[in-house]
């Protein structure tokens, strides 16, 4: 059965409105995308939706109280909460630099957690 699904591409702030033509579970055509990332997004969103996780962690001995972090790449959408919960209780030590790996493997997703800010020693 043919159907058309409406999506909003969230890969960048342009937020293109995508029209995805599907037959059963296969994607026939994607339109409305301004760039090729839109097609990648539509495929992912309809099969295995993923998101980037961003959060903050407390840091000791630094010029700031908190350091911001993100998952290096996207993780499955339905594991976001679990991954956030796994960070509770984690406290870092200054200095931390942008890109430093904080957690090697977030809850077995194979994705690492990295710092997005540099916090130097006080």
């Amino acid at each position: 059965m043919k159907e058309t699904k409406q999506l909003v591409c969230i890969s960048c702030p342009m937020g293109c409105r995508l029209e995805v033509e599907m037959e059963d579970k296969t994607i026939l055509q994607v339109s409305g995308n301004l760039c090729s990332r839109g097609i990648v997004y539509a495929n992912k969103e309809l099969t295995n939706p993923t998101r980037i996780l961003t959060s903050i962690l407390p840091i000791i001995g630094g010029v700031e109280e908190m350091v911001s972090v993100k998952s290096k790449t996207d993780i499955p959408k339905n594991r976001v909460f679990e991954c956030v919960k796994s960070l509770k209780g984690l406290v870092l030590q200054a200095p931390i630099h942008v890109g430093d790996v904080i957690v090697k493997d977030l809850c077995g997703t194979g994705v690492s957690l990295v710092a997005t800010k540099t916090v130097l020693k006080k």
């Binding site: 702030p13 980037i52 956030v84 942008v98 997005t116």
Partner: protein, 419 residues
């Protein structure tokens, strides 16, 4: 008094990009003044991703985007004064600032670039009856508490206004363990980016109540709940639709306004719609040699456009130092049907670039309209727009040769038309 060629006020993404481009134009004597302890501006508290796809071709978080510019400014050895708050700019371009270390500082500049960003609309601007209990925050303040100071201001949250900061905070607080009950938007459409509605609300099943507002705040010392009510198109609450929602926290995300106390004091002409200074296509304000870019000029939803705009502003500020004023004849841009404002509002016919980006916002949601540009009576551009919405800044590349057909004192008009 210190003499500076290009003095930049504000060390956010706009100020940093302007400084870098002025340096690229060969200006040695640049100075950035920033009131905070760190460079980077508001981006430091925007820990979510979504920045820099256009500038760096990768998706960065706010702090990462800021860090890239800070590093470039450091590498270019551009002088910066931190903890330095500018308190006055005179018509002769004397900048007065204060800092705990240096006390009162005065700087004579040849060019000034205003890059002070914006601030949130104050709560007083909203007339919601009820006491003023604790538990009411602007969304940006809440963002600062959660992301910089690391504490959660409440557990049961109602957000008023669907601007981007409110949407981002709905997700942020949900991830931190709060329960976001709903986002109320008085308008029939959201003012935020579509992607934020998808990934901040839909992902977490947070309802977006369009055409709804808060008509009463309950609780004397701490917020205990709100009355939410549907509104008609003219924004008046509809009787009989009142609904009590228990909550302990209200976030207000009701818009940003350019930070222009300084500009007003300096006597700059201010745009009545954007609340930013009026500028021509060189980003030059009504005082020659004073330029503006970023959120102080008009509120942007995309930092990439801020950086791009600031790069031009820095370039023009540098040219002013080298060549003096480049302005002779200015041609006004008139907002026709559906156009709320444009930046710039005038074009310098003699010195304009072959391509100039004119940014604008529309007054309403329009589907399948044409964006037309007229020079006098002549239509010079006709572009189909599938959908445009007030929450998203639009732009058009204005081609200098469009003015070739111009006879005399004709205006430029930008408008939306059905066909």
């Amino acid at each position: 008094m210190r003499n500076v060629d290009v003095c930049i006020i504000g060390g956010g993404p706009a100020g940093l990009a302007a400084a870098l481009s002025a340096r690229k134009e060969g200006i040695e004597n640049i100075l950035i003044l920033e009131r905070e302890t760190f460079l980077g501006g508001i981006l430091n508290q925007c820990i979510h991703n979504g920045f820099g796809l256009h500038t760096f071709k990768e998706e960065l978080t706010g702090p990462e985007y800021a860090a890239r510019y800070v590093q470039m400014v450091e590498e270019a050895s551009i002088p910066v004064l931190l903890d330095t708050m500018v308190i006055d700019i005179s018509k002769d371009k004397v900048v007065t600032a204060i800092s705990p270390q240096a006390g009162l500082i005065q700087i004579q500049a040849i060019s000034i670039v205003l890059a002070m960003g914006c601030r949130e609309r104050p709560r007083g601007a909203l007339n919601i009856p009820g006491f003023r209990p604790s538990g009411i925050y602007s969304a940006g303040t809440a963002q600062r508490y959660v992301n910089i100071e690391g504490f959660l201001p409440g557990k049961e949250v109602v957000i008023l206004g669907s601007g981007d900061i409110g949407l981002i905070m709905a997700r942020r607080m949900t991830l931190e363990g709060a329960h976001v009950l709903m986002v109320c938007e008085i308008l029939p459409f959201s003012g935020g980016l579509k992607r934020n509605i998808v990934q901040c609300l839909d992902d977490f099943n947070i309802p977006l109540r369009l055409s709804h507002t808060i008509t009463k705040i309950h609780g004397k010392y701490r917020v205990e709940g709100v009355t939410v009510q549907q509104v008609s198109l003219d924004k008046t609450p509809i009787a009989g639709t009142e609904e009590f929602v228990a909550c302990d926290t209200i976030l207000l995300s009701v818009g940003l306004i350019p930070e222009n106390e300084l500009s007003r004091k300096a006597g700059l002409k201010i745009h009545t719609t954007t609340q930013g200074p009026l500028v021509n296509d060189r980003f030059e304000t009504s005082i020659p040699g004073v330029f503006a870019c970023g959120n102080v000029l008009h509120v942007h939803d995309l930092v990439d456009w801020v950086s791009q705009e600031a790069e031009f502003a820095g370039q023009f500020a540098a040219q002013f130092v080298k060549l003096g004023s480049q302005i002779s004849r200015l041609l006004p841009i008139v907002c026709g049907y559906g156009i709320r404002y444009t930046v710039p509002t005038t074009l310098c016919i003699d010195s304009m670039k072959t391509l100039t980006t004119v940014r604008f916002r529309v007054t309403d949601v329009f589907k399948d309209y044409y964006l037309d540009v007229f020079v006098g009576q002549v239509r010079v551009s006709h572009q189909k727009k599938r959908i445009v919405a007030p929450g998203e800044m639009e732009s058009i590349l204005f081609k200098k040769h469009w003015l070739d057909s111009k006879t005399e004192d004709e205006e430029i008009t930008i408008l939306l038309q059905k066909e």
